[in-house]
């Protein structure tokens, strides 16, 4: 008997099982010792003969025998390219969400102020309530600014936040930053809960019905011109004596 990775003793235990002779012969019933039987078909044998029938019933079903030796079904999420450190991968939720202080160098009227900090003195009375009521945006990786130019709805109204960085890609390069150290000249995000996407104008292509109407109209104009010329020619053929 050849086995791979299985100890010899686990599979070749000689258990004094009971002998089934041919039909008609007296059958001997030998009690199965608990230690040697182990887990046959997944049914543990605590004592001898009493639970022997349960073991035999389990053995009678080949599917239960096949299931007993199986490592079980493949667990979801068990596939990985790297070596698993633990039996089951665990997810961790970030508990310390970093809050970035609001930009102090933003243009007046744009962005907000850090909680507790005094508004910029240069702004003075021009700071509207709408700006002062701006909520402190939760900042984290990837949420440091809107992309492009857009309208961000705020409780007080709409605030246009042009991307001073000049890049339209989010977190790509240049002054947009990679999310690690936002530049000082960037515009403070007002309400990053609603992502703003840039609107690019699309070339207007006429519908087929519009094309057809255009062609029919041109055709009508051309036909009208032709008929008017014909009428004009006919009027000229009349003798000048009758013309008024």
């Amino acid at each position: 008997m050849t086995m791979g990775n299985i100890e010899q003793s686990a599979l070749t235990k000689t258990t004094p099982g009971w002998v089934a002779g041919a039909m008609g012969q007296a059958l001997r019933w030998v009690v199965l010792p608990a230690a040697a039987v182990g887990t046959i078909a997944g049914v543990g044998v605590a004592t001898g003969g009493v639970s022997g029938s349960a073991v035999m019933a389990a053995l009678a079903n080949p599917l239960s025998v096949l299931a007993a030796r199986s490592p079980g079904a493949r667990a979801t999420g068990a596939l990985t390219q790297t070596k698993l450190r633990k039996a089951t991968p665990a997810e961790g939720v970030l508990s310390n969400a970093l809050t970035r202080p609001l930009d102090r160098f933003a243009a007046p009227g744009l962005g907000g102020t850090a909680p507790g900090a005094a508004p910029a003195d240069t702004v003075g009375d021009t700071v509207t309530d709408a700006v002062a009521d701006l909520p402190v945006p939760p900042t984290g990786p990837g949420s440091f600014g809107p992309i492009g130019i857009g309208f961000i709805p705020t409780p007080g109204g709409f605030v246009v936040t042009p991307n001073v960085g000049g890049t339209t890609g989010g977190g790509g390069g240049g002054t947009g930053g990679g999310g690690s150290t936002p530049p000082d000249t960037s515009v403070t995000p007002v309400s990053p809960a609603v992502p703003v996407t840039p609107v690019t104008p699309v070339a207007a292509v006429p519908e087929p019905a519009t094309w057809l109407t255009l062609l029919l109209g041109f055709g009508a104009i051309g036909g009208a011109l032709r008929s008017r010329r014909r009428v004009t020619t006919r009027a000229e053929d009349v003798s000048p004596a009758l013309q008024g």
């Binding site: 050849t2 086995m3 990775n5 299985i6 599979l11 009678a60 080949p62 490592p71 079904a73």
Partner: protein, 200 residues
């Protein structure tokens, strides 16, 4: 008088003891239930009451004996025992839900192993497939990977072949078995032998 009473009491007690023992003792001969016996290596089913395993296409294959594996197998494990098993038709049973493969010859199970099978995105098909082709050293043209001891099952690349069977791995539809087992399996089966793949 007292002596007679004591003697009578003893007689009654003795009778009760004897009768009680007689009633409680087990019969000398009792017929064991018709069930399989195992000799340590195999679980052998009685010839007049052979169970059968159902295949996905409705066929049933009779099982004469199974390997007696006494503990759950792990990735990389396999068992092979063909001692005393007569030559005859062979068939393979792949159980994706139990991640095992069983090889039967003449109704006796002679080999079993833990397998790798297809990922959720590239699942292993289920059904009964005849072996189309056998190749001792095959290289996949689709994935440019070695597939030793390949037993081709479908035209689109599903096969049984040797693989590094360990936790956390899967294939793109093929069935992977340990290399030593793949070599033994390769020598036992031939073209057109059925391979039954039971669903996960």
């Amino acid at each position: 008088m007292r002596g007679v009473a004591i003697a009578a009491l003893l007689t009654v007690c003795g009778l009760a003891l004897v009768l009680g023992l007689r009633w409680s003792e087990a019969p000398v001969v009792r017929a064991p239930p018709p069930a399989p016996h195992h000799d340590g290596k195999r679980i052998v089913y009685p010839a007049d009451r052979l169970p059968a395993l159902a295949l996905p296409d409705g066929r049933r294959q009779v099982v004469r004996s199974l390997l007696n594996v006494t503990r759950p197998m792990r990735y990389g494990d396999y068992v092979w025992d063909e001692d005393g098993v007569p030559a005859g038709p062979a068939w393979i049973r792949v159980d994706l839900a139990r991640q095992t493969l069983s090889l039967f010859r003449s109704g006796h199970e002679i080999g079993t192993a833990v397998i790798l099978y297809g990922t959720d995105g590239k699942p292993t098909p289920t059904g009964v497939f005849p072996i189309l082709e056998r190749a001792r050293a095959h290289r996949s043209t689709l994935y440019d990977a070695d597939m030793p001891y390949m037993l081709r099952l479908t035209g689109d690349g599903v096969a049984i072949h040797a693989s590094n069977v360990r936790l956390g791995r899967a294939t793109h539809g093929c069935i992977g078995v340990p290399p030593a087992f793949a070599r033994l399996l390769f020598d036992q089966v031939k073209r057109r032998d059925p391979v039954a793949i039971i669903a996960a």
